[in-house]
Symmetry: C2
Amino acid sequence: MNINQNYLNLKDSYLFFTIAKKVQEYQAAHPEDEVIRLGIGDVTLPLVPAVTGAMSKAVAEMDDAATFKGYDEYQGYDFLKQAVCGYYAKKGVRLGIDEVFISDGAKSDLGNILDIFSTDNTVLIPDPVYPVYVDTNIMAGRTIKFLNGTDGNSFLPLPEADTAGDIVYLCSPNNPTGAVYSKEQLQLWVNWAKENDAVLLVDSAYEIFIKDPSLPTSIYQIEGAKECAIEFCSLSKTAGFTGTRCGYTVVPQALIRNDTPLNKLWRRRQSTKFNGVPYIVQRGAEAVFTETGFAQIKESIDYYLENARMIAATLTSLGIPFTGGSNSPYIWLQCPNGLSSWEFFDFLLSKYNIVGTPGAGFGENGEGFFRLTAFGSRENVMKAMERLKSMKP
Amino acid sequence: MNINQNYLNLKDSYLFFTIAKKVQEYQAAHPEDEVIRLGIGDVTLPLVPAVTGAMSKAVAEMDDAATFKGYDEYQGYDFLKQAVCGYYAKKGVRLGIDEVFISDGAKSDLGNILDIFSTDNTVLIPDPVYPVYVDTNIMAGRTIKFLNGTDGNSFLPLPEADTAGDIVYLCSPNNPTGAVYSKEQLQLWVNWAKENDAVLLVDSAYEIFIKDPSLPTSIYQIEGAKECAIEFCSLSKTAGFTGTRCGYTVVPQALIRNDTPLNKLWRRRQSTKFNGVPYIVQRGAEAVFTETGFAQIKESIDYYLENARMIAATLTSLGIPFTGGSNSPYIWLQCPNGLSSWEFFDFLLSKYNIVGTPGAGFGENGEGFFRLTAFGSRENVMKAMERLKSMKP
């Protein structure tokens, strides 16, 4: 008996643990200070009435043998897959219902999708980045190469002459940098993937925050993407589903490798290792895509985007360079005066009683940068920005 | 770019597809016949009021920013883990709260648990058996050896002098045979696993159907099991959660391989590739373990067990040998007159308009056997048994 030895190569992540500990210690030493958390990655607004109304109705259906729902077909109910297809149609993307897989969230699928690929593939991962891309590939023992996201490329790495790999992760709008790829930039990645027989794993969990109509909200708005890209979406940030759990993954029928449709492989993986999303949750998710539901979630998204705008405006007035802050709930700023991520964390906490996330936690290229998020309450964001206005960068 | 070539070794399962097609064709040819389905593996009774009441309350909480729940800690809320520990305590098993992992169902965890083991382990799988044990290991390219379940051992294979392997699947009460291991038999497996540094993966999804107090309902009722066994449980059959999705997996802290606690590895796997069960569902699951909830689900279980008893009594009166039928929702019968599984299927369908599941669909040793289930309505079970009474075996 041997365990999977690759697990021993995983680094323990102490990022959020260390943050919590430092805040706790500061608060214990200064009980009179009001600490504001702008590092939070979870939503704070409740589910919208259209969603809770649909879920209440579904709970009642489950209470009656005549309307009770048992196993579904693991890939989601047609009513929800159709709603997702309708959402894509509004973006100008036509999908077949069998190309949509309902999931319990983008994170699960981003990890589990690796099952269908050989472990001898080389993986290209942006740095800085959402840490699970790296960890899930370490678990499988794959070779990882990093795509450098820096000031110089606005944290949007592009394929270069010597870029070589089989699987590429893209996240746009990006977590943690808030940077958004343009259509022209994504076209470069799609062209590269097709030329190199690679597959793009596109994390679009934050697409709803894109307001600029010139920016793409789906990889399939890019010519040729259906032949090289899988897209992962989530209702977590779109509709406050972080504790309700529902997302969707698109695997186009045109995406074929080793003469095998990846759609068929993923269907087989999910049929065998997954049993579907609760009926009640799928009814709630369906409501997100109705006219009423969409109008309601748009209000929440606009609330968060206004928070982001206020944070961005303050940084601009202070002359602190940043990415994100519009078309994204994240603001990624350069630590002033050459401070390291953690030095700036301590400075912000002790001087302004504001908590954020040190960029070093998202990869080597994150050192010297800092993430703020727009998911807090308006009141807290306003208070925090008022405090920062006096900062001498 | 290469796909995971192991997927190409999977056999397509046409079992339920073929059944559906045959029934459809028969019904088209004989529209006047009333076909009764006794092959169904899904529950038919609705969720109990304690569960839907708790879920309705949770939906209301999600509607209000003050009580809204976002991300949890991925392994489940303490309130539910504590309820599970309380359920185990009644069985005489003491578990720590950090040994319980809340999941979206036993099937997901039974597949995903393999992540933490090396792919060079040899796996021992009973035959006949629930097909996902086999498929998930084929996907990972592991060597599979089968443990023969036959008439001779009442479909309860035990370790023998030459039994060698690293991972062993046990399912008791068994799907499809309904057979239940005794304490003495499970003790043999535990002793063998400890002597051979193996790990037992114990699927206890049907433990609630065990009424005989001398039979074990958890592997941890067996001396030494915490050092060699992981147990998978589900509310799917226990509380009608097939479409609501919640289960729990127990990884004891005492279970250590390669000097590494498997609890730590599984926690890392789930933290990285899973985002937890919906808050609403966890509140519904918690209600199952309350006094009121438990009394309500007991009524449903007793209803199914009475169906099973009626089917078993009919087979006994006909002189047809079978396993299961008590302490289990499954009845596994020997096809009369030397008929093959599919021949008996056709015979039952055409002569008595009854649909079951051919045993050959569960492995080579299932040939010549047939599965009936107790999940139908009482009315249908009574009608079907009335028809069968005239059968000349």
